[in-house]
């Protein structure tokens, strides 16, 4: 016996919402990365849950999760590299200071 789909979805949405909050609130690039990871993770949960409850015969959702994880890894790598570069350039990783694209 497991919890229903709704429970998983609620967890997922909550985690996603926390990610959004973090993304908006953090001033630090690394903090942003953490929030993004949370959001990706929430998406992963959704994929898993939908796969299990709606089409248990297939594994497409699980494969998507793997892709999400893989992409998250790639993204994290690049992101961290960018953090390095930004820091070298601005001596800061505060996103409020990094606004050279301001119109």
């Amino acid at each position: 016996m497991t919890a229903g789909l709704m429970a998983y979805m609620l967890i997922s949405v909550t985690m996603f919402g926390l990610g959004i909050y973090g993304l908006m609130e953090r001033r630090n690039l690394v903090g942003l990365l953490i929030s993004v990871e949370l959001m990706l993770n929430a998406a992963g949960i959704n994929f898993m849950a939908f796969n299990y409850y709606l089409m248990p015969d297939k594994v497409d959702g699980q494969i998507m999760t793997i892709f999400v994880i893989g992409l998250a890894a790639a993204e994290a790598t690049l992101f961290l590299a960018i953090v390095f570069a930004v820091f070298r350039y601005y001596r800061s990783i505060n996103v409020e200071k990094v606004d050279h694209l301001r119109g």
Partner: protein, 621 residues
């Protein structure tokens, strides 16, 4: 003479000068000696051919037209061709003859000029244009060459264009005559729209109903006449457009002679003569319009004659006398005496060319235009020019047996016979004034004895033959017309009792009075110059009836400020509106660009908000 030969001769006559123009322009711009001979050869060919043509005309009914579509394929309305009838041939002959004499004269007059090749090229172009105008079989071709005549005068008047006064005079001549040309253009438009043809033959044969069709209150014929008169007023220097002609004296004197005798100003009178059929096709209003034309011409004659009295520049005296004589011609044609008007044009061509060329001889010798200066330099000792000046003056004053006597009397007689008594009276006043100012020049000249610089004075070798020939013309051209030319024009000479005798006696008497008075004032100095007494009038005359002043005001106080205003509007409103649109766009964009803060989180928030809206819309919550 066969028709084909006639056509060939005409073409040779007309094209010879333009060939010399092209040759000089392409090859001989620096070889002055060759250039002048090329030019003279061209115009002499024309003169010879036109003389042969003139002989070949045997009847007044002679009328021959050849036209080729020029503007559009198959469109005969706007074609180039030639019209051979006595009128055009006589005119052609005058142009070629005077042109030849003037060019010959220029050999001496322009001998020191560094650009004389160009001068001869231009003068050839000028003669070509005038001849092309003369043989035009339709209004269109007339207009084309009419404008080219204007170009020729522009180039020649402004020939010494390093002098600002010459350049300005040339510009004034071109623009003022162009103002008149608007009338010509309008006349073409009206006539073509009304009749569907601008061919002279076609127009003369045009249905009366078409000519009298109502158009803006008047009829087609009237508007055409008015338009054409405007053009004539420009070219033939009638009120109110005559202001350019005296200024045109800035050109070399041979050019003045040409302009005043045979080409530029003659074009207007000739055009009017050509279109005198309008008098017969139009309605009542058209006749009134022509009367009006005659009245304006009479006014011109008197006004300019009066101005001539106070001029001290010898060329200007003759310039104003030209305007006055042109007035006579237009009065004649306007009241229906086409032949008399043309006759006066014919004789006037000779004696006015003579007057200008002799004036040129004085100027060339004395290096001054002022009558008094010439007199002081001993101008009266120049034998040939002095005789020719005398001959010309007698002709201009209309004394027997000089040519002017016949032609002027022809017009006066017509006025008497046709009961135009007001015109007649005015014309007689004009005769008085004419003889007065003409002989003023002579008496001033001979009253001074000179101060011993006469060894400088000489008449150029090439000046003498033209002067002598023109003297003969001034003497006999009236008789030539009466004996040889008149029978080509299909007007039967009707004896009107003693009209001819009366006018001849009265006008001669009046002229003699003028001469006598002039003698008293300027030679004997026994009575005071009337201009000394009438200071106010003299001032008005010196200001040329304030006509130039009015032009000046028109240009500087109305036209230029108006263009200035338009330019301001252009900059302020047209350009300003566009710039305003641009600025407005920039401002809006600047507002939006504030959204692009460069802050990732703000973008993210906006993105999410937008996504939420989209989700709400999709799920219709």
């Amino acid at each position: 003479m066969s028709e084909l030969l006639q056509i060939k001769l005409t073409l040779t006559t007309v094209l010879a000068p333009i060939v010399s123009f092209v040759l000089i322009f392409l090859f001989f711009l620096r070889q002055h000696a060759i250039a002048r001979w090329v030019s003279l050869l061209g115009i002499t060919t024309s003169a010879a051919c036109s003389t042969m043509l003139l002989w070949s005309v045997d009847s007044p009914a002679h009328h021959e037209t050849v036209s080729l579509p020029w503007l559009l394929p198959g469109d005969i309305n706007f074609s180039i061709g030639l019209l051979l009838d006595p009128l055009s041939l006589v005119m052609l002959w005058i142009v070629a003859l005077i042109g030849t004499l003037v060019q010959m004269y220029s050999f001496s007059y322009m001998e020191d000029d560094a650009n004389q090749a160009k001068f001869f090229a231009f003068i050839s172009l000028f003669c070509f244009a005038m001849m092309g105008f003369t043989i035009a079989p339709n209004l269109f071709q007339s207009y084309v060459f009419w404008e080219l005549v204007g170009l020729g005068s522009y180039l020649l008047i402004g020939f010494w264009n390093h002098l600002p006064s010459a350049a300005t005079a040339a510009r004034k001549a071109f623009i003022v005559t162009r103002l008149g040309d608007l009338g010509f253009f309008a006349a073409i438009l009206v006539a073509f729209a009304g009749l569907g043809s601008v061919d002279y033959a076609g127009m003369a044969a045009g249905k009366n109903s078409l000519w009298t069709a109502s158009l803006g209150g008047l009829d087609v014929a009237t508007w055409t006449s008015i338009g054409l008169f405007l053009a004539v007023a420009g070219k033939s220097a009638q009120f109110p457009l005559y202001g350019w002609l005296p200024d045109a004296m800035e050109g070399p004197t041979p050019v003045s002679a040409l302009i005043h005798a045979a080409t530029m100003v003659a074009a207007g009178v000739y055009l009017l003569a050509r279109n005198s059929f309008l008098l017969t096709v139009g309605s009542e209003s058209c006749v009134i319009a022509w009367e009006g034309i005659a009245a304006i011409a009479m006014l011109t004659a008197l006004m300019s004659g009066a101005v001539a009295i106070v001029q001290n520049d010898i060329k200007r005296v003759f310039a104003y006398s030209t305007i006055s004589q042109l007035g006579y011609m237009v009065v004649g044609i306007g009241t229906g005496a086409v032949v008399a008007g043309m006759m006066h044009l014919f004789t006037h061509a000779f004696f006015k060319a003579l007057l200008f060329l002799s004036a040129g001889a004085f100027i060339h010798a004395a290096h001054s235009n002022s009558i008094q200066d010439i007199a002081r330099a001993g101008g009266s000792r120049l034998k040939v020019p002095m005789y020719s000046l005398l001959a010309g003056s007698f002709a201009l004053a209309g004394l027997f047996p000089f040519a002017g006597f016949y032609s002027k009397d022809a017009i006066l007689e017509h006025l008497l016979v046709e009961h135009h008594y007001i015109f007649l009276a005015a014309a007689l006043v004009g005769v008085l004034v004419t003889s007065y100012y003409t002989f003023r020049v002579i008496f001033v000249m001979i009253s001074e004895k000179g101060d011993g610089h006469d060894h400088h004075l000489h008449t150029g070798a090439w000046m003498v033959p033209p002067l002598v020939l023109l003297m003969i013309g001034a003497l006999f051209s009236g008789n030539i017309w009466n004996f040889a030319v008149k029978h080509w024009f299909s007007i039967k000479h009707v004896e009107h009792g003693n009209a001819a005798l009366i006018t001849a006696l009265v006008s001669s008497g009046v002229a003699l009075i003028g001469i006598y008075y002039s003698w008293r004032v300027f030679y004997k100095k026994s009575s005071a110059d009337p201009m000394e007494k009438m200071k106010g009038l003299a001032n008005v005359l010196r200001e040329k009836w304030y006509l130039d002043w009015s032009y000046d005001k028109l240009v500087h106080a109305i036209y230029l400020p108006f263009t200035w205003l338009l330019n301001r509007i252009e900059l302020r409103f047209v350009k300003g509106a566009l710039d305003g649109i641009g600025t407005a766009c920039m401002n809006v964009a600047r507002g939006f660009s504030r959204l692009q803060s460069g802050e990732v989180q703000q973008y993210f928030g906006l993105m999410l908000a937008a996504t939420a809206v989209v989700i709400l819309l999709i799920t219709r919550l």
